[in-house]
Symmetry: C2
Subunit: 512 residues, 2 copies
């Protein structure tokens, strides 16, 4: 087999099952090799940021990497912001990039650029294959690197190496070493939780079903409160899972929450940091004295929590607190609150919710506390335009589960190309665009900074109303049946309809 | 004034008149400073690659930089591929990037990333301001760097430096040193042109009106043929300007064109390189022996051509060759040829044509040889999705001139967000989508590689027909009046209509 065939054979051997692709001329041998490998499902995306966003959503749901097939440096560059988000989420993800032939690159053809420089900004592993025979091993090393605490691996494969003869033997799949918990950290955390008022701040795998149940037991034993990161990669929520209070977005509000605790134990996350730095407020949202490190997201947080539960003789059963009622079905005008409440009331058992709308998102977290069991995905790196791609990948990963992706119009406009892949693959994704016709977060920030009134230029930089985006036309232009509503009743009706059918739907929720 | 105000004051002093922006929280002091500077027109873009593409189109038309205001590393990352194209075009362009506060960045907030690593992949100048007082000088240095042979400058400005007090004195504008021509190169070129069969390969400013007229005079004196780069940033064409033969895209065809020449004089370009490397074909499209360097695009090609014309006693007047007739107005089905011919027949005097459609583009170059005078812009770096942004910027730069941007559906789908800015600013841009519902270039490449028939996966990677993109809905979704046609007569009618009106229009040309 040639280098390209050996790469695909190695990918199969390493368990890769899905390839999100936007290939070009330098990837054609890989495309032909995929043709001979029906075990890998190839999914075309109209923009690379959809491909990388989809691989992020896929990896979050299955804790294993999908492959992105990208065209040279520009293909990688287009997918960069969702790779940034995936890096912050700790998602396992594999990029394979076709490169010019080794003999051609020295002539600096127009599409040439410094691929490694881009790759090193987000990759835990980045390598360029230098001959056909090393490609399969390079690929196996790359996949292996994604399995150790998550992370992104990027393999650059020159065109001539794809075409040249490679060894017929594919390396056997290696076991990822099981990370082991830290007895010292467990001891420190146990002491902290038994002394004074404490909280456990959960992130990463700490927000999995297993992590939450362990944290719930520890909380029952110690009286600790459960908190979660403001932006998490994935949190299992609803049903009878323990609840956690979300760390607020603005640092003054977050500090008001953390200040009363004598200790905050970090389980699957790092010491919390404000999203932006504001004059007069600190970067960190806990003090050094408060902070007790149990496990970062790259460490064995489940092992640590299990050891901690044992150390504390935590009960096996978590006392069920009376759950809040689901909010009443709202009526009338649509605003952040009512959009959030309609979704929370109607989302189905075992759904997946991808939430990229900051203002709706804050209301939604509270509204959905008593929803049926679901997986909650969020924007992790702050680079907007993540939701539609991640929802696409989550739907590919979990074909039996309904995906609800809610977006604001500003975020959604970044990634409209994802709707085409949802239509092409007939994915069960319902997109709700909370259309406030502005970059509303900027207005909030101006207000916090005491700027008032805004001048005409600043005002125009926050407004998306002239012209407004017609989301029904945009959705349908990319092949997704779409509808607009401007009342809570309308949203409820259309969301029910959409969830009752197969295939993608888009609902524009025009907010007052 | 604060650092942000000093940056904007310095930008005004350096002649910046336009800012393409997608700001976020770390750029808000700059937005407020723009509010106080009506001399800079601020234009909101829904995606950073529209902003950078627009700045590229603007810079190509006016030979001076526009400013892009981008949000942190992810904002830059989103704009990266059109910065790649701008770098290959030699466009002067200024990026200003808001960064986290210096005291906050050390905590590694979620949106933090290695901005410099990205910037160095395309920038001739990249700097991070470290205090408020140095911002104005940094900005002046950045703009200065774009004036020396074109090029991109990137300035990173931390949020606290924007807010802090800065000096009130803005540095005076520096003169860009005039580059001077090379007597040695001129002597070599003169000798080469007087000996044997020769061609002048034009690029960069060699394709300006002045460059073409000088080249025409030199050709008249020596019998040299005029060639031009396959992908040029901007070529003045039509009317009574000298014509040039375009170097073909595929290297075998390019070599068949260049092989007969004893010498190929490079005027405003470099030794030509194949777009991709194909097994058995060379990277370079001229031999070392043939190649005679007069001036690269970064050198003083006009000075060199002028000295060369003098050295050769070239006549002042260029003998006018009888111009080809414009092609007849085609009828019936739409294909690459007929789309190209309709545009060439109807494009107005003094128009601007942004051409990003490879198959239509090849036909168009020939069809438009006898069109009235126009400026022809092309995709320079191979990173698709450039045209809609560049057309937007060209229209901002030249408000009195009609812009025709033709795209294939694959390229166009990358940059649909540009239509919104065209609608918002009511720009005279007519977009023609040559809708072949495939990544057709991949089919051509598979055919050249002798792969036939394609398997189902490879075939699906080239097809955009299920679902097809509905460009009328997409255009209208972003606020641009849109129409679809499937015949040459229909395209002619709608293009005439569109050109007769003010404001943007989109025409989907459905090809057979």
């Amino acid at each position: 087999m040639n280098g390209a065939q050996s790469l695909i054979a190695a990918a199969l051997s390493e368990g890769i099952e899905v390839c999100f692709a936007n290939p070009g001329t330098t990837e054609l041998p890989l495309v032909l090799a995929l043709d001979e490998a029906p075990g890998i499902r190839s999914i075309l995306c109209l923009h690379e940021n959809v491909a990388t966003g989809a691989a992020d959503g896929y990896g979050r749901m299955l804790s294993k990497p999908a492959m992105c097939l990208l065209h040279l440096g520009p293909g990688l560059a287009n997918g960069l912001t969702n790779l940034h988000n995936a890096r912050r989420a700790g998602t396992p993800l594999l990029n394979v990039i076709g490169e010019h032939a080794t003999w051609h690159i020295q002539a600096d053809p127009l599409l040439a650029s410094n691929i490694e420089a881009l790759a090193h900004t987000f990759s835990a592993f980045a390598k360029r294959s230098t001959d056909a025979r090393s490609i399969a091993v390079n690929l196996a090393d790359a996949v292996h690197a994604t399995g150790i605490g998550g992370g992104i691996a990027t393999l650059i494969v020159p065109h001539d190496c794809q075409l040249a003869y490679a060894a017929d033997v594919i390396p056997a799949r290696r076991q990822v070493p099981k990370s082991s918990y830290s007895p010292a950290n467990v001891g420190d955390a146990a002491k902290a939780l038994q002394r004074g008022r404490s909280a456990i701040l959960l992130g990463g795998k700490g927000l999995s079903e297993a992590g939450l149940k362990l944290a719930g037991r520890i909380a029952a034993a110690t009286g600790a409160d459960l908190l979660c990161d403001t932006f998490f990669a994935r949190m299992e929520r609803g049903g009878d899972l323990p609840m956690a209070t979300r760390l607020p977005y603005f640092p003054d509000q977050a500090l008001a929450l953390t200040r009363p605790y004598d200790s905050v134990v970090l389980a699957g996350t790092r010491r919390p940091v404000a999203f932006f730095g504001y004059p007069g407020l600190p970067s960190y949202l806990t003090t050094e004295e408060q902070t007790v490190a149990l496990a970062t997201s790259a460490e064995d947080v489940l092992g640590d929590l299990e050891a901690l539960a044992a150390e504390l003789n935590a009960p096996n059963d978590i006392p069920q607190k009376p759950r809040m009622q689901l909010p009443a079905m709202p009526k009338g005008e649509l605003n952040a609150q009512s959009v959030a409440q309609v979704i929370a009331r109607l989302q189905p058992e075992n759904g997946i919710v991808m939430d990229e709308a900051l203002t709706v998102g804050i209301a939604y977290f509270d509204s959905s506390q008593s929803a049926p069991r679901f997986s909650h995905l969020m924007l992790t790196g702050g680079a907007i335009g993540q939701g539609p791609g991640a929802a696409t990948g989550a739907a590919i990963a979990c074909p039996g589960r309904k995906v609800i992706n809610f977006e604001s119009d500003g975020c959604g406009a970044y990634s409209v190309q994802a709707f085409w892949t949802q239509a092409r693959e007939n994915l069960d994704v319902v997109t709700i665009i909370g259309s406030n016709r502005s970059y509303n977060i900027l207005n909030v920030e101006f207000e916090r900074a005491g700027v008032k009134p805004l001048g005409p230029i600043a005002r125009s930089m926050t407004r998306l109303d002239h012209p407004y985006l017609d989301w029904v036309r945009i959705g349908e232009g990319f092949g997704v049946p779409s509808v607009a509503v401007d009342s809570a009743e309308g949203l409820a009706r259309e969301l029910e309809n959409a969830l009752a059918r197969k295939g993608p739907r888009l609902i524009e929720a025009i907010m007052s």
